[in-house]
Amino acid sequence: MSDKRPVNLDLGTFKHPLIAMVSICHRISGVVLFVGLVFLFCLFDTSLSGAAGFASAQDALQTSFVAQFITWGLLTSLGFHFSAGMKHLIMDVGVGEELDSANNAAKMVVGLTLILAVLAGVWVW
């Protein structure tokens, strides 16, 4: 390999089209979901620890704003990660790889996430 190949990975110098933003947000939402696992595991553990634990988990989701906000944030991240992941799988079979269709797919992912974020909010609150 030649050492003279240009290297420009200073992301701050790039213009980011929608496709790139969706790609980086796919990663960010993945990291958010990973961090949120500790909340989900604690909630799941509590809910299965007995009738009292189940009631306290239910109570937290019905009364604690922090728990509700985390739940909403995780559902929204999941909605985005899920939609962007589906886009990936569809592109893997060769659909939507052209610039136009890829742009439309990215728009659909953003649109779908916005709808899911609102629905998740309605569900949580």
Partner: protein, 115 residues
């Protein structure tokens, strides 16, 4: 030639495939959980406990749990190799992820089987 040895499978292609298989399992599991919770707004402990007492649900949950471990590892490994340049930081980051995924896997097994 020294190639990378911290990826999950032995090759990028293997990781690529695993990431997709685990994605499908996790997608099915999350859709199932969301739909189940939406359809059962009056869920009580007995029903919740019975759900995770079913063998089929335990198999599905364990499948999702193992997929989660692989999916998180491959995803966060990619993130770490792209954004964390200094070897020590990258290595420590990957070690933390590895330990956490192991903890989650054991924790999940314990929750499902109540050992």
């Amino acid at each position: 030639m020294v190639t990378t040895i911290t990826n999950f499978g032995r090759s990028g292609l293997y990781d690529w495939l695993l990431q997709r298989i685990s994605a499908v399992v996790l997608a099915l599991y999350s859709v199932f959980m969301v739909v189940y919770l939406l359809l059962n707004p009056q869920l009580d402990y007995a029903q919740w406990d019975a759900l995770f007492g079913m063998t089929s649900m335990r198999i599905f949950s364990l499948m999702a749990l193992l997929s989660l471990g692989a999916h998180c590892w491959i995803g966060l490994w990619s993130v770490s190799t792209d954004y964390i340049k200094p070897f020590v930081f990258r290595f420590v980051f990957q070690m933390v992820i590895g330990v956490l995924m192991f903890v989650y896997t054991v924790w999940g097994v314990q929750l499902l089987w109540g050992l």
